[in-house]
Amino acid sequence: MFVLVVGGGKVGYYLTKELSESGHEVVLMEKDRTRANQIADEIGSIVVAKDGCEGSALAEAGANRADIVAAVTGDDEDNLVICQMAKHHFAVRKTIARVNNPKNEPLFKHLGVDELISPTRMILGSIEQDIPVHELLHLASLSGDFELIEAQLDETSPAVGRNAREIALPEGCAIVAIVRDDVAQGISGDTVLRAGDKVIATGRPECEPALHETLIGVAIA
C-alpha cells in the first residue's frame, strides 16, 4: 500500500511515522523546507519538500501510483485542493481530508473527497455523549454516507410502549440495537421500547429530522 501524506504538521508527522513503522510505503509532502528537512532527519528520506497543491509536485511525489492520498494540513482549503487534484488529475482511488470546520463536510463530500476526518466533530461528539439531551447523538460516520446515531427515549417519546414493528422508520433507516439497563441487546419486531432505552440506529444524515420525530418526538432545541 502506497500512501501519500500531504502536510508535515503534527498529524502528518505522526501519521507518516506510524505508517512507515507498520511497513507501508509512504511519502510525506511538506512545503516548508526547514520543517521538511527536520522531519527527514528523523524518519529518513521519504519527505518531499514541495507544495502538495501543485500538480507537478504531486506527480514528482508519485501521486500517479498512490493508493491513498491523505491531506492533513491545518487549512481546509488546502486539503480540499490536494484531494481534488489527486482525484481528478491522478485518479487516486481514495482521498482523505482533515476538515477543521465541520460545516465544510457536506461540500467536501459533494466535491468527491472520499473520507473526511474532523477533529472538531469528534471532540464535539465526545462531549455530546456526556450530556443528557433529548437529541440524537452522533456515534460514528459509516462508509456510504451512513451515520450511526443514538436516541435516548424518555416518557414523552412517541416510540415508547410500541414494538419495533409498529414504528414507522424513515425510508432507508434501521434500528440496530437497543441499550437497556446498561446492557446492549439486539432488536426483533416484538421488542417493545421503554423509557430509558437508548436506541442505536443507522441512516443517512438527511433522514435525521424524521428519525428524531419518530423516536424522540419534535425537537426541543
Partner: protein
C-alpha cells in the same frame, strides 16, 4: 445584478468600485477591516468582515442566489474553495476564482468554475508587447455553471499532471 466579491485587495477593490459605479449591487467580504480602506468613500455597496471560505459568513452576508461571485484573495486555494462553495452551496451560477498557478487554473476550469490566471495573463500581455508568441493559453476561462457532477462525468485521466 447582485455581485459578491471575496478579497478586498487591489483587484477586489477595483472590481467593487467599478461594479458599484456601474449601478450593480455589490457585497465585498474580507477578513481584515482595514482592507476596506481601499474602497472609495463613495462606495455604495456593503462591506462585510469575515472569512469568504466560511459558508455561514457568506450566507450571513446575503450572498445566496447572487448573479456573480468573484473570489479574488491572495490565496489560490482559498479562492478555489470560496468559488466552489458559491457554485455548489449558494446557488450562484457565474463564479470566477483568481488562480495564479496555471496548472490549477486549468484543472478547475475543467471542474466547472470560471478561472482567471494572473500569471498567464501578465506573461501573455508582456510577450504580446514584445512581439513574441505567447503559447496561446487562455488567461480567463468561463465556468460551466453546472458544478461538480457534470464535470466529474468526464472522468479523471490517470497520469496527467
Amino acid at each position: 445584478m447582485r455581485a459578491v466579491i471575496v478579497g478586498c485587495g487591489r483587484v477586489g477593490a477595483t472590481m467593487a468600485r467599478a461594479l458599484d459605479t456601474a449601478g450593480h449591487e455589490v457585497t465585498i467580504v474580507d477578513l481584515v477591516t482595514r482592507a476596506f480602506d481601499r474602497l472609495p468613500a463613495t462606495f455604495g455597496g456593503s462591506a462585510v468582515r469575515g472569512d469568504g471560505t466560511d459558508e455561514d459568513t457568506l450566507r450571513r452576508a446575503g450572498t445566496e442566489g447572487a448573479d456573480l461571485f468573484l473570489a479574488l484573495t491572495e490565496g489560490d486555494n482559498r479562492n478555489i474553495m470560496a468559488a466552489q462553495l458559491a457554485l455548489e452551496a449558494l446557488g450562484i451560477q457565474r463564479v470566477f476564482a483568481k488562480i495564479n498557478d496555471p496548472v490549477r487554473a486549468q484543472a478547475y476550469a475543467e471542474l466547472g468554475i470560471g478561472t482567471i490566471c494572473r500569471t498567464t495573463m501578465m506573461a501573455g500581455a508582456l510577450l504580446g508587447v514584445l512581439g513574441q508568441p505567447d503559447g496561446g493559453e487562455p488567461s480567463i476561462r468561463e465556468g460551466t455553471g453546472h458544478g461538480h457532477e457534470v464535470a466529474a462525468a468526464a472522468g479523471p485521466v490517470r497520469g496527467e499532471g
